[in-house]
Each structure stands twice: as structure tokens, then as C-alpha cells.
Amino acid sequence: MLGLDKKDTSLFLLVLLLVVLAPFLLNPFPENSELAQFNAGYPDLMQRFLIFGIFAIGFNILFGLTGYLSFGHAAFLGVGSYAGVWMMKLLTMNVLPAIIISVIFAGLFSLLVGYISLRRSGIYFSILTLAFAQMSFSLAYSVLTPITNGETGLQLALDDPRILGVSQVDGSIPLAHFFGVNMRDSFELSLGGWLFTFNAGYYLCAVVMMIAFYIAVRIFRSPFGMMLRAVKSNQQRMNFTGLNSRPYTLAAFVISGMYAGLAGGLMVAMDPLAGAERMQWTASGEVVLMTILGGAGTLIGPVLGAGFIKYCENIFSKINDNILYEWFSALPEAVSDILVFVIHPFIGKGWHLTLGIMFMLIVIFLPGGIMEGFQRIGKLFSRKKKKEADASGATPAPAE
């Protein structure tokens, strides 16, 4: 289907199904139950899953295929966000031009950065991209304040021109919309104890993400993708055969920069503001974490990684000591005190500690990320089956 082979089609359909049914799947617990805090089915979080999923898919096209580790991808996301907000300030509140312009601007910026950075490889490349990102971050904070609004962050204002739309509606800033469909519009479905929210913005993100995912699959399976993998496995040998690999890596860099810009544009479409902290190198580090955690070089890994990190971030930082005490209320008081004392540093504000430890464990024991974990588990089962089959076949039943 659509030029995908059978396996990819089923993967694509699986992802499509998951994304469409996410409002159900992520809300497995009834609204008033104790476990409701583990629900992730509200629009804001689901949008973030998809947006960071797009970001990670794009990063994976560069890192997973070519092996070039960029530590400055957040800069493209930031540039995209700023461009998007400006479109909303100048043109119209329709999100389409904002998203398109974010992609274009991020693409141009990544072309510039990539052209310079890709002259070096290995750690030098990482440092160069990091330098560019930190430079953009510092400039956005200081000199470029007229464009970026410095520390406050760029926001919409009542007196913005919005020449294609309206400047204000009844004395307030108009909402972001997609040809009349308001991004914040939600349809709520109450079924028994469950409350499911279907949000317009989420489904816009979902459509964009499916397109992005489809393009990524095509890139992975194309001769171009093959060339990028060749760069990863042995660039020197490619040069010896007389092939200049830089146009390929540059193309990969720009594509992944455009994905980052797309993510930035969508962020703006969902919530029209942009701040410089989106470009900080910790933000770049985060997308690296997502990709590695999910599994670099796999199709669906980065999306899983992004979802996993954002979900854990949300849940872990919400849990506090009182909730823990409630959970352990069945245990004797002394035991629950000790348990809470032990768990306390890892929850709430300590979520980054959990993230760091998780990340180290993954890099140490599962360099292939979650996807490798699945494969290992899968192998374990298939081997067991084989062994069982062997065992039942080879050893005759003992005679009584």
C-alpha cells in the first residue's frame, strides 16, 4: 500500500490505529478511581506525545541513519516556533501558514548550520552543532530581543496586524484555528465512569505526524536511506569509491532540521507562544534521550521513546508523598515510612534523577533502546518454544 511493503504497511496501520484510538487507549482507568492519575488521555499531553514524536523521528533520520550525533537540534525547533508565532502575529491565526513557514525557516537555518558543521565528523560535529545551538540560544535571549522578546518569550498581542485575519475578536486575542476548526475544540464522550476527550488540535497533530511518519518510512526504505546507512557503517570506504557523501548527509541534516521545525510549528499551533529555553542544549539533549531510549535507527522506536519520556515526566512529577502514603496504607506504618523515604528523591521534582538513571541503564544494558528490549524478549520466547519443541521431541517420555 502507498509504496510500502507488507511489513511496513502493517506497521504503518498499527501506528495509525494507535494514534487514532489514543484517547481511548490512554484513558484505561475510570475518572474517579484512584488510578485516574495514570491516565494520559488529556489533549495537552497527547499533543506533546505526537509533537515530540515528530521531533524524534526527524532526529532519528540524522542520527539513526548516518550516525552523526547532533547536540543542537533544539535550535531548529526554536527557530520554527519563533517563525510560527510571527506568522500568527502578522498574517492570520490559521495554523497552516504558521506550520509551513516554521518548516521552511527551520530548513533554511539547518541548511546553514549543516553546511558548516558537516565539514567535520565525530565529536567535532557534535561540538559544532552544540556551539551553533548555544549561540542561537544566547542571541535569542539578548540581542535578538526585538524578534524573540527575550526572556519573556514571544507571545501574541491584541494590536498585532494579522492582515489576512482579524486582529482581535471582542477585545481578546482570537484562537488558533485550522480553516475554522478551533484547535482547542474538544468533543467529550462520557461512558460509564470513563471520560474520553477528542481534541481537534490532537487530531491535526495526528494527521501531520502520520504524514511525517510515512515520509520517514519511505526515506528509510529508499536508495537515499541506504546511502545514509552506508555513511554510518563506513564513510571512508565510500569516499574511496569516489562518492562524495556530503550532499547525502547534508540532505539528511536538513530533512531532520525540517522535522524539528515542523514540531516547533505544531507546538505553536497548539499553544501560540515561543521562548528561548526551547533552544537550550538540555532540550537538544532531551531529543537525543528520546531517540536512544526508543531505539536509534528503528522506525517506531523514537516515537515510543518520546511518548515514554513525556508520559513518565508527567506521571512521576505528579506523584507526591501523600499519594505514596495512600498506596502503602495497607502496610505497617514503619514500613511505609521507609518506603516513602526511599522513593521520595525519585518523584516530584526529582523526576530528572529517575530519568538520568533510566537513561544510563538503557545505554549500558540496552544500547538498542526499547526496541532491542522487545526483540530480546521476543527471542527469549521463540527460543523457549523451540527448546520446548526440542525437548518434547527429543527426550522420550520416561517409562514408568
Binding site: I116, L128, L139, V143, Q236, G350
Partner: protein, 343 residues
């Protein structure tokens, strides 16, 4: 002339910090071939060693003095630090006052232990893994260390003053025969610079003039051959890792009075130190030191009012800009050796 001298002096303290961290990074990279993203965290832990010691020294017990009363008329509670009780009030106060320099002694065993534990417990398993994995695992470790410090010390910067003798500034211009009040320079910064110079000199002397250092240098040049000669080079490289951790820690201890330690200071310095290492040339110790000072001084020149008014924002980005230009024109950095990190 005096303006130029002033900027050079201003750049020295940051330059010293860059040089010390970059020196440690290069030591680790040159010996073990590991890219250590947790080195900034070691710097930060050093600074928090100073904080811990000054807190430990000012641990107090409370006594009630019936003869004096506080403003409510109750008997006054007097807090006496244990050190003052043990060593007499004057010596005790002096010990508390000198907590940052004493932190040097306090931090050396701690940093050496952390360094050894890190190398034996984690880095050892990453020699043969690709550089990307090394970067990632040490990046994770940096997050963990940073969060642990944040958990125990909170997120706010903790002021850690220098000894009273070194508080305030002195007139450097008058000392070298210029007009008075032109170059006013804080004492502690010159102390920091001298301290850094001693440490850097010490590390170089250690590598140059001791047998241990000779073996390490030989191992850096050709690890296999040294191993074939029956020398356990791994053990020595582990010691070098601990040494690099100590250097970073000491840089942090002495930096505490200049900038109040907070949990993310390591990350802030790390990015810049990596730029410094790359500019100096990966694997070159003199290059790292040189680049550290050069970039520190350049940064201070770029923050002069005249320069900023001419090129707004240049002070924020000068280091990165220089790094980009150098990497593109001299790909091996200022003093890089051939064949390091070029595969």
C-alpha cells in the same frame, strides 16, 4: 593600554577555570580515549565540597546564656561552633574563615575516590564502545550527579565566601607603576589564577619528570607497546582518571567564592570546556591550557562596553564563534596531534 591589561586580568579567572577543566578532559581523553561529559559535574561536586566543609565547620551547639537576654526578654541562646569550642574562639573562627582553602585538602580524597569509582564502576566498560555511547552514558551520569546534589543542597546558589584576608580588591595598577584606581582587581581572582597556574604546572611536572608520568606519556603515544613491555598501563590510566577528577574538583573548590555554587554550574562550564578542548586540539594538554586562557581572555575583551556597542551580543557568542572559525580553518585545533579522533 590599561584597559587592555584590565580585560586580560578579568579574563584570567574564567580562563583558569576553563583551562583546569579542559586539562582534566584532555587527560582522560588522551589516556583512556573516553569522552567524559560528566566532567563538568565533577567540577560542580568540587565546589560543593567547599560548601559541605564550610557547613561542617560551622556546625554549632546551642547553650543558654542566662546573663544576657534577647529582645523578648528571654535568656539568650548562644550558638557556638564546635570548632571554636575545641580550638579556642580565635583559632576556631580562623578555621571557619579559611574553610574554602581547607576545602582543597578535604576535596582531594573525595574527588579521587569519586574518580576511581567512576572509572572502575562505569567508564571501564565503555572503552570499546563507540564515542557516541560514551558521550551518552556520561551525559546520563552528569544528570544523575547533578540531581543528587540538587536533592541535598537545593536549587539555589549557596554563597561561600573567601577568607577575610582575600576579601575586597587591591589596586593592581598602582603596584606596577600605573595611575592609581585604574586597575582594581579582587584578591581572590589573582589567588585563583596563581592556584590554577600551580596545579597546571604540577600536572605537567608530574607527567614530565616522574617515572610514572613517563610511563603514562608512553601509554598515550602507544598503549599496546607499553603493555607488551609488561607494564600494567590500565592501572596507571585509572590513576590518571582520578587525577583528572581531582583537578576538576580543585578548580571547583576554589571557584566557589567567585560564583556561588549551584547545581547546574557544571553543565554551564562543561559545554564551554568542550569547546575549549576542541579549539585547543583534542588530546593536546598544552593546547587545552592555551585555549582555555585565550578563550577566557577573548570572552572578557568581547564584554567591553565599546565592543558590545559595536557588535551587540558578541560577548555571548564569542567563544562559539571562535570555535567555529578554528574548527573550519584548523580542523585539528590549535595544537592538535595528527591521528587523534579522526577515524
Amino acid at each position: 593600554m590599561d584597559a587592555i591589561l584590565l580585560q586580560i586580568l578579568n579574563g584570567l579567572d574564567k580562563g583558569s577555570a576553563y583551562a583546569l577543566i579542559a586539562l582534566g578532559l584532555t587527560l582522560i581523553f588522551g589516556t583512556l580515549g573516553v569522552v567524559n561529559f560528566a566532567h563538568g559535574a565533577l567540577f560542580m561536586i568540587g565546589a560543593f565540597c567547599a560548601v559541605t566543609l564550610s557547613r561542617l565547620l560551622s556546625l554549632s551547639y546551642t547553650t543558654i546564656d542566662p546573663e544576657r537576654t534577647d529582645f523578648l526578654g528571654n535568656p539568650l541562646k548562644v550558638e557556638t561552633p564546635y570548632v571554636e569550642a575545641w580550638f579556642g574562639p580565635e583559632t576556631g573562627a580562623a578555621i571557619i574563615d579559611w574553610s574554602v582553602p581547607l576545602g582543597i585538602l578535604f576535596s582531594i580524597p573525595i574527588m579521587a575516590f569519586i574518580g576511581l569509582a567512576m572509572e572502575r564502576g562505569l567508564i571501564k566498560y565503555f572503552y570499546k564502545r563507540p564515542h557516541a555511547d560514551q558521550i551518552l552514558v556520561t551525559f546520563g551520569l552528569a544528570i544523575v550527579l547533578q540531581e543528587i546534589i540538587k536533592y541535598f543542597f537545593g536549587a539555589n546558589p549557596i554563597p561561600t565566601p573567601a577568607p577575610d584576608v582575600f576579601a575586597g580588591s587591591f589596586d593592581f595598577g598602582a603596584m606596577i607603576g600605573m595611575d592609581p584606581n585604574v586597575i582594581i582587581y579582587p584578591y581572590w581572582r589573582i589567588v585563583y589564577f596563581l592556584f590554577a597556574a600551580v596545579i597546571i604546572g604540577g600536572v605537567f611536572a608530574f607527567l614530565q619528570y616522574t617515572t610514572f608520568g613517563m610511563v603514562v606519556r608512553a601509554g598515550m603515544a602507544d598503549r599496546q607497546t607499553v603493555g607488551l613491555l609488561g607494564i600494567n598501563i590500565d592501572k596507571r590510566f585509572t590513576v590518571m582518571f582520578a587525577l583528572a577528577a581531582v583537578v576538576a574538583g580543585l578548580a571547583g573548590v576554589m571557584y566557589a567564592p567567585i560564583n556561588s555554587p549551584n547545581y547546574h554550574m557544571g553543565m554551564d562550564f562543561l559545554v564551554l570546556s568542550f569547546v575549549v578542548v576542541v579549539v585547543g586540539g583534542m588530546g593536546s594538554l598544552p593546547g587545552a591550557v592555551l585555549a582555555g586562557f585565550v578563550l577566557g581572555i577573548l570572552e572578557s575583551f568581547a564584554s567591553m562596553a565599546q565592543v558590545v556597542s559595536l557588535l551587540p551580543g558578541i560577548n555571548q557568542i564569542i567563544i562559539y564563534l571562535v570555535a567555529i572559525v578554528i574548527l573550519l580553518t584548523r580542523p585539528r585545533g590549535l595544537m592538535g596531534r595528527k591521528g587523534v579522533m579522526e577515524s
